[in-house]
Symmetry: C2
Subunit: 246 residues, 2 copies
């Protein structure tokens, strides 16, 4: 097995190797055919064609990824909300797979850094982030099948973001929950905010949330408010888990 790995990594160029490793980190498992993932980041402006003359770009993969995402989220909501009716499930899914949310997911993973294009990445609109998030899911389906799409979506969408109370509008702000809790428990909290520019020059904000001088949660997002909210949510769930374990 290791010998095969070595042969493969020798025949792969260094650039491919870096791409392979980064994708593997994002996926949380090993890709088998890296070509699917390369396609997932190829913009139509590259004008690439395969041997049969079909265009190589991520647009068809978006269609496939969107379908897999919808199915996985449907199954998740079905199980997590046993008393939600059809209308409720449909509404909750729309919130999770909304254009805005998918753009955020793509941005958080900084997927845009992989895009192969003849147009400068800065010229793309906001939707590029969500589109390549979908095409990445499509590539996972082709490469490893439905169960791995499920695994990836669990790791990158459901665990960090899908919180039914929040989606239902019952929780407006995790930051206010954290502050409330700290005041009640007489704890000292501090949000440490810093600017954090990725390799593509995209402006991002990082937040470290400390309680009693101990860093409890970290987050990165496209605005200070979003980063604070995300760190607060993580802290909230971390504390919830501790409470549950008691």
């Amino acid at each position: 097995m290791n010998i095969i790995k070595k042969i493969f990594s020798k025949s792969r160029s260094q650039e491919d190797g870096i791409f392979f490793d980064t994708i593997q980190k994002i996926l949380g498992f090993q890709p088998v055919s890296i070509d699917f993932y390369k396609k997932a980041f190829t913009h139509r402006s590259s004008n690439k064609l395969d041997e049969q003359g079909n265009a190589i770009n991520y647009e068809r993969l978006e269609f496939l990824g969107d379908a897999m995402l919808s199915a996985v989220i449907a199954a998740h909501l079905f199980n997590k909300a046993p008393n939600g009716d059809e209308g409720y499930l449909t509404k909750m899914r729309s919130k999770i797979v909304s254009r805005e949310h998918l753009n955020e997911l793509g941005k958080d993973l900084n997927l845009v850094r992989f895009v192969e294009s003849k147009v400068p990445v800065q010229h793309f609109g906001e939707n590029i982030h969500g589109n390549i998030f979908e095409s990445l899911v499509g590539a996972i389906y082709l490469d490893r099948g439905y169960a791995f799409c499920e695994k990836f979506i669990q790791k990158r969408v459901i665990t960090p973001y899908v919180d039914i109370a929040r989606l239902e509008g019952k929780v407006i702000s995790y930051k206010s929950l954290v502050i409330e809790w700290c005041q009640k428990e007489k704890r000292i909290f501090h949000y440490d905010i810093f600017e954090d520019n990725g390799i593509d020059g995209q402006r991002l904000f990082g937040v470290k949330l400390s309680i009693d001088d101990k860093v409890i949660a970290r987050a990165r997002a496209t605005s200070k408010k979003k980063a604070e909210e995300k760190a607060s949510q993580r802290a909230y769930f971390a504390f919830q888990e501790k409470i549950d374990k008691k």
Copy 2:
């Protein structure tokens, strides 16, 4: 294994046994938990509740089945139409999973015979057929997972109905193709039509298509025209296979 089967069939009532066997025939594989399938045919008018007080009926399963159906059809089209763009794939899928088509699928399997309801089945609108087709797919997902949904949809939707040329509107009528071919080849054809009422009293039409006094294809549908068309399509594909094998 056989002993376990016998124990199970003993503990199951006779009615359950018949339901189990019929569902197995429709699925093409063995159900594991028959309760999912019972739920798939339970109408809300039954007013059933589970131990937690959640409604037991097929409406939530419809949502799940619809999502799985969309994903499986998306993957099929992605593979079968390598030069179709995102817009084309979306349009083709809409045709396959249209309300009208799903109703037809449910009707052809006569799924309505299993519906448990306090309202007479005749009082339901047309959509009941498609709705329970979807809920059946949802039950398959819960019982056996995505791969078995794929298997079922391949057997009951894709193989008998999904014909890309037809969906693209390139083939208007299989009946006219059959007639044209018979005239060219100097064969004698005959459509034998008869009324065929199912156990639920639903009016259906059966067609036997003979060529040179040999029955080539049979079909059942809700109108004479549809039944003829379906039998013609089956004959067309049967002949195509023969021609391909030469």
